[in-house]
């Protein structure tokens, strides 16, 4: 009787895991299209997990930055900017605001 339920639960679990894996992948792959002021996440550019860690830790700072039009500019965000600009060529020409929004969207 209950086996369909179990199967469904297991299925959901698998899906959830896949989704999780997808997010992890996305955070380590960043591309910025500066000209269009849009940000895409593709698997073209890969940065190491450590770098994405410095970017992930800048999430809260990025939120403050975006919300205040750049008034609050914390060190963690500054570090993330540096990392992105060194590692991702497309990010070099992007504005701070664009980058902050990209980090926030991660």
């Amino acid at each position: 009787m209950r086996s369909p339920l179990i199967v469904a639960a297991l299925g959901l679990l698998v899906l959830a895991d896949v989704a999780q894996a997808q997010t992890l992948k996305a955070t380590s792959n960043i591309i910025v299209r500066a000209s269009a002021r849009t940000i895409d996440f593709t698997s073209d550019t890969t940065t190491s997990i450590r770098d994405s860690k410095i970017v992930r830790e800048a999430h809260d700072d990025a939120a403050s930055f975006v919300a205040t039009n750049g008034e609050i500019r914390g060190a963690q965000l500054e570090a993330a900017f540096d990392t992105l600009r060194t590692r991702v060529p497309e990010a070099r020409d992007a504005s701070d605001q664009t980058l902050a929004e990209a980090i926030l969207a991660l």
Binding site: D60, T68, N69, E71, I72, G74, A75, A79, D82
Partner: protein, 516 residues
């Protein structure tokens, strides 16, 4: 041979041969020769006397040996048989020296060190300093004593009351008692021989054993090994090559990281005094002091750029180890909580203070030279593994512990006479003595951007809520346009946040209410 040596002034060990068979004499003499061969030249030259060595049965069964005050050394006769027939060289003990014979050799060196220590064999400069400081002390008393003289007046031992040795050994200065030393040594974890912590006299002798006999001593206790080497102007032959990094136990909450981290002192650009600003809780009213290691990312040369390698930075924090859900003020006052040196990733410390506890962090670079930075990191690694102290909220809190770590580690003379029991007070004193550069905090925006200040999220939240309140109170149509909350409350310090109606909305909307 011994007679030939006697012509030059130097130490001689003379075996008391009464009642010893030729084989026993030979084995004993070999032991003494080996001991003499292991000693530093300065030791032998300075300790210019003849010491009589004999075997006695007037000794507790498990003892190895004992030195009289001046010139006599007794060894336990129980051990003579095994020394003579050679079995002592293979018989294992449970101690780090390994075999019984090795233990006997260590005993001879240990007891000779006691005699050396008592002989007041200071160098010329040291003797002059001690005399000057003692004279000064007689005239002005402790209060008028210059920092340089602290702990140098009325010294009685060659090594074991040297302030620098006491700092390294684990008898640091009591806070606020003009150089008086703490009674108990808390560097007890991972001691090769816990007997060393009974008194500085024993500490000097026990460590001399390992300095001379253990090739890895310089890797285990680098600062002390350096101290002995400097004192004797000599290094024992055959020392192990040590690793360039120091291991530490990663106390971060990121469990994907390896539990054992490594610090390479060559990659440490600066050491910051990291102060968590105070709040109204009893235990955090004066802030919390920590040290931040500004570590460069691998491959980046040391320089100001390293300040933004935030994922590499580590924080050294003495914390009361509270194994309970409730913090007892009484236990804190009487020192019931253990105090340990934790090594944490910076990002976690920022999160804990600015987001969870809503306290800001000030990170002020200390003006230390390269050698002082290396030595402080090295000492921190030693303390991390060996220190198990007691946390007293007042007399041995984080500020006192951090100061002791800095003082023992860097040996900066400016720190010798520095006393403070509050974390924020310590920053002021460091700054007043020119050891900390608080000017980095002057420009708030830059301080925030470059990581000299991590602001509390209290202000950010506050600004956001004020903004929302304003929007809700205002007569503007409460549509989907909210506000860009904020404005400079946190940054420029203006009294009220101002809001500008602009998408995207950052305040929450409640359409139900808005439409009603």
């Amino acid at each position: 041979m011994l007679c030939a040596d006697a012509a030059q002034a130097s130490l001689q060990l003379r075996l008391k041969t009464d009642g010893l068979s030729p084989a026993e004499q030979q084995a004993s003499q070999a032991l003494l020769d080996e001991a003499l061969g292991a000693l530093p030249p300065r030791f032998i030259e300075q300790l210019d006397r003849r010491i009589d060595v004999g075997w006695t049965d007037k000794m507790p069964e498990n003892a190895y040996g004992q030195a009289s005050l001046v010139s006599e050394l007794d060894l336990n006769r129980n051990l003579l048989a095994s020394l003579t027939d050679g079995s002592a060289a293979t018989q294992k003990t449970n101690r780090p020296h390994g075999t019984v014979r090795r233990e006997m050799l260590a005993t001879v060196l240990h007891e000779l060190t006691h005699i050396y220590d008592r002989a007041r064999l200071w160098s010329k400069d040291e003797r002059a300093l001690i005399q000057r400081c003692s004279r000064q002390n007689n005239i002005t008393g402790l209060i008028g004593l210059p920092d340089q003289c602290r702990g140098q007046n009325d010294r009685r031992f060659t090594l074991s009351d040297d302030p620098r040795l006491l700092d390294l050994a684990g008898w640091p200065q009591y806070v606020g008692r003009r150089g008086e030393r703490e009674q108990h040594n808390n560097q007890v974890a991972r001691s090769p021989d816990i007997y060393e912590t009974t008194s500085p006299l024993e500490f000097v002798a026990v460590n001399m054993e390992y300095f001379l006999l253990d090739p890895s001593y310089a890797c285990r206790r680098p600062a002390l090994a350096r101290y002995y080497k400097e004192h004797f102007g000599w290094a024992p032959p055959g020392e192990d090559a040590c690793g360039k990094t120091y291991a530490f136990l990663n106390a971060g909450n990121d469990f994907a990281k390896t539990p054992l981290g490594q610090i390479d002192p060559e990659r440490v650009y600066e050491i910051d005094y990291l102060l968590a600003e105070a709040n109204q809780n009893l235990v955090s009213r004066w802030g919390h002091s920590m040290l931040r290691l500004v570590i460069c990312a691998p491959g980046r040369p040391r320089g100001p750029d390293c300040r933004l390698d935030l994922d590499q930075h580590l924080v050294l924090s003495y914390r009361a180890f509270v194994g309970d859900v409730q913090l007892s003020s009484w236990d804190g006052l009487v020192g019931k909580y253990p105090s340990r040196l934790f090594v944490l990733p910076l990002a976690q410390v920022i999160d804990e203070y600015t987001k969870t506890e809503l306290r800001g962090l000030a990170s002020v670079p200390l003006k230390l030279n390269r050698q002082e930075i290396n030595d402080t990191v090295e000492h921190a690694a030693e303390m991390h593994w060996s220190y198990d102290g007691n946390y007293f909220f007042i007399s041995n809190n984080c500020a006192v512990e951090s100061l002791k770590l800095l003082r023992s580690g860097s040996a900066n003379p400016q720190l010798t006479g520095l006393d403070n029991i509050t974390p924020n007070g310590l920053l002021e004193v460091l700054s007043a003595r020119g050891l900390a550069d608080t000017s980095v905090l002057n420009d708030k925006r830059e301080a925030l951007r470059l990581g000299y200040h991590f602001d509390s999220f209290r202000e950010r939240y506050q600004a956001m809520l004020m903004c929302c309140a304003n929007v809700c109170r205002s007569s503007r149509p409460r549509s989907k346009t909210g506000c860009r909350w904020m404005h400079r409350n946190a940054v420029n310090g203006s009294a009220r946040p101002t809001c500008a109606p602009a998408p995207p909305c950052c305040c929450w909307n409640k359409p139900a209410i808005a439409n009603s």
